[in-house]
Amino acid sequence: MRTHQYRELTECIPVIRRYARALTNDMHRADDLVQDCLERAWSRLHQFQQGSNMRAWLFTIMHNIYANQARRYNKTPQLVDIDTIADFPCSNSRQELNLELYDLEYALQQLPHEQREVLLLVGLEGMRYQEVSDIIGIPVGTVMSRLYRAREKLRNIMEGDNSIKVQGIND
């Protein structure tokens, strides 16, 4: 029975690692997050109820660690200041913006961490809304509104670039 749980937990590692990577956009921070999460999980594996959802359990642990850390990291957002990179020749600025359009990671980092979390659990991990609600400990209605706001914000970032692109073409 124990071996079974050991295997089940090990099999979840790549998935929580992918999630951590997308959440933090930093390989080292992500792996530290995974390690913190796994250390807790290994030490409490005996408390884990046979037959309950291992993946949800791990994501819940990770959410709690991340939420604590996010409060700390929130003060130092890792954004690229667009003003500091605008000093290269104008004729090329359109292509530069075009590239940003594909830079979903950059856009992701502009979301508040609560929205990013919901977006990734649904969009990347393919979870059901109820599951996300259980993991984060918020009502389904809040899951839905965070999801909507996250998606709209990403879309705006991308379409913001589009409008500039269209202007450029019309010049």
Binding site: Y6, T10, I13, P14, V15, R17, R18, R21, A22, N25, D26, M27, H28, D31, V34, Q35, L38, W42, S43, V80, T84, I85, D87, F88, P89, N92, Q95, E96, L99, Y102, D103, L104, E105, L119, L120, V122, G123, L124, G126, R128, Y129, G141, M144, S145, L147, Y148, R151, L154, R155, M158
Partner: protein
């Protein structure tokens, strides 16, 4: 809201995107979207966000799991002699495994392939054939170019001078890649042979890798790692010439 209602809540729109909308609302939604291209486009852009997320992050699933993630405190489960025997066994297996992993046959796709070789090959194949738009910023504005790329890659970036080997710098461009963008410089010789130098700032597993040769999709390449910077010189030229260019670049960058 009853199920006959033809207006949809925002939650139902989201649920449609995530495949979590149930019948009969699903069919009603499909009918609604067929007549509302603007809403359809909005939802389509949400779906694309989902697929872009997978495109960006799914290769993390293939990365080998670091030892430190696996359970450490299995103590007390086995008596001491069993643990020693197991230790000897695992060390022997580890030796065998590392032997196989290092041998050519078991050389599976590494972080170098996904983060350096493949993107560099792709960049070469896309931009080297471009006559007018091979680069974003031309060599005559190279001070701007270096400054810009250095800012975006968060490290000092310069295009080495290859005039002595017969290759002139055409210019360079920024490329999207994971974590930080990458840079590409394009060079050309008198016979219009082009080589491209792809530069990637990344946390590599190894601090130093020297001049590895690969040939992929009809493109020859030497790549090397110097600290956090990975370089890949690609071209469709003779292997010896490519290697000698790599040496010139390496020397000029480490000087």
């Amino acid at each position: 809201m009853n199920s006959q209602d033809k207006s949809f809540s925002e939650s139902e729109f989201q649920a449609y995107v995530d495949g979590q909308l149930l019948e009969p609302r699903l069919s009603q939604m499909e009918a609604f979207l067929a007549n509302n291209p603007q809403e359809a486009a909005r939802l389509d852009s949400y779906s694309q966000q989902n697929s872009t997320l997978h495109a960006f992050y799914d290769d993390v699933l293939q990365e080998p799991i670091p030892e430190r993630f696996l359970m450490k405190n299995k103590k007390d489960k086995f008596p001491i002699f069993a643990r020693s025997a197991a230790a000897v066994f695992f060390m022997a297996m580890g030796g065998l495994l590392s032997f196989f992993l290092q041998s050519e046959y078991f050389h599976k796709p590494s972080v170098f392939t996904s983060q350096l070789i493949q993107p560099a090959v792709n960049a070469y194949k896309v931009y080297a054939p471009e006559v007018l738009h091979a680069v974003e910023v031309k060599a005559d504005q190279q001070q701007h170019l270096f400054k810009w790329l250095s800012k975006r890659l968060e490290t000092d970036i310069k295009a080495p001078d290859l005039e002595g080997s017969g290759y002139s710098l055409i210019g360079g461009r920024l490329l999207p890649s994971r974590y930080k963008p990458s840079a590409l410089f394009m060079y050309e010789n008198k016979k219009a042979n082009r080589v491209s130098l792809y530069i990637r700032h990344h946390q590599w597993d190894q601090e130093s890798v020297l001049f590895k040769y690969v040939r992929k999709d009809d493109v020859s390449m030497f790549y090397w790692i110097d600290g956090e910077i990975g370089y890949a010189l690609s071209g469709d030229i003779d292997k010896a010439e490519l290697l000698s260019l790599s040496h010139v670049i390496h020397e000029s960058l480490t000087r």
